[in-house]
């Protein structure tokens, strides 16, 4: 009867920002990104991609509660970089990787249909 709508799990409510950014008050070059209506799918790939960046000292994500549909990504970088820069770069790199993957898969499909 009073069940919340199922789409609340993946539709960002009006007036809410998809990503919000909060600097750490005590540590320089550390920040938390709160991403609304995302979960492990995005959280884990971002975390693993951030780990590939040598300027990232720490990167982690958490899903605070299964009924709070948001993740928090925390990044700490060296002074050569910034959390925002590392975050943006990781998204760009993942995007590039997926572009490549798409092309590779399509090329394989073409090859496969020709060979068999």
């Amino acid at each position: 009867m009073n069940a919340p709508d199922r789409y609340e799990r993946f539709v960002v409510p009006e007036g809410t920002k998809k990503v919000s950014y909060e600097r750490d008050t005590k540590i320089i070059n550390a920040a938390s990104f709160t991403v609304e209506r995302e979960e492990h799918t995005i959280g884990n790939i971002l975390r693993m991609q951030l780990h590939r960046d040598p300027n990232v000292l720490f990167a982690g994500y958490k899903l605070p509660h299964p009924l709070q549909y948001k993740i928090i990504v925390r990044i700490h970088t060296t002074s050569q970089s910034s959390p925002m820069q590392a975050y943006n770069q990781s998204i760009n790199d993942l995007d590039r990787e997926l572009d490549h993957l798409k092309n590779a898969f399509e090329a394989e499909m073409l090859k496969f249909s020709r060979d068999y």
Binding site: F10, K18, V19, L46, D53, N92, E97, D99, E106
Partner: protein, 318 residues
Amino acid sequence: MEGASYARMPRVKIRELKDDYAKFELRDTDASIANALRRVMIAEVPTIAIDLVEIEVNSSVLNDEFIAHRLGLIPLTSERAMSMRFSRDCDACDGDGQCEFCSVEFHLRVKCMTDQTLDVSSKDLYSSDHSVVPVDFSDPAATDSSENRGVIIVKLRRGQELRLRAIARKGIGKDHAKWSPAATVTFMYEPEIHINEDLMETLTLEEKREWVDSSPTRVFDIDPVTQQVMVVDSEAYSYDDEVIKKAEAMGKPGLVEIIAKQDSFIFTVESTGAIKASQLVLNAIEILKQKLDAVRLSEDTVEADDQFGELGAHMRGG
């Protein structure tokens, strides 16, 4: 700072490709990407499924909501889904099903007039859009087409009738499993098996046979000519550790070493028929790209930080 890129260039090799089944190798990436793809294929690639049912007459043995639920679970051909709108953000209609951008209408009218039980199936659903129809599961090789009916919805006896209007919409598996295009999507780490040949040769043929048979799946076998143990199917290995335990129990630890390669995956994708398995993979990549794009920082967030950043730099004495 542009130029430094930590992007990987994954490799793909397709092993098997059918309309509703795909098996492929994915290399040079990590488990996070493999798992993200799997999760997106199951829960976030859109399809079309019946979502609203208006029943006019139902004198069958099943109640209205039972039939509505069964209708929802029927896979519909969903090649159109990627370019369709979700009815919740369609501005051309109010979601009542009269809109070509976000919905497809179906009609079903069946009445049993004979003494024989009448099967009402997905073949009795008439679609308003020829590109969105119940999936045809009939075997193209079978010559006898009369026996190939669709998914059975309900059975009627003499005098019983079912008449309804249904509206199919675009949706994702996260909302309801009826929208999931995936029957199963799995991936496994590719195993790398090294047999210590020297240690293996200290075993008698009988011991070798015993060791080979200790694996629950047929991973190893004995060459009938050389009587050497060989790997016949490394991918049959289910990471059960049985052969390793057996080697230890036989007093030969290190007889075999099995490593799960951390950057190689073997994917198995089975589709419900709503979209082709190959298209499912491609759509999943596309959806994942869209999701990443959505989590980019917005301009105002960056600007707000720039101001705050300068202030912060001053405060830190910079």
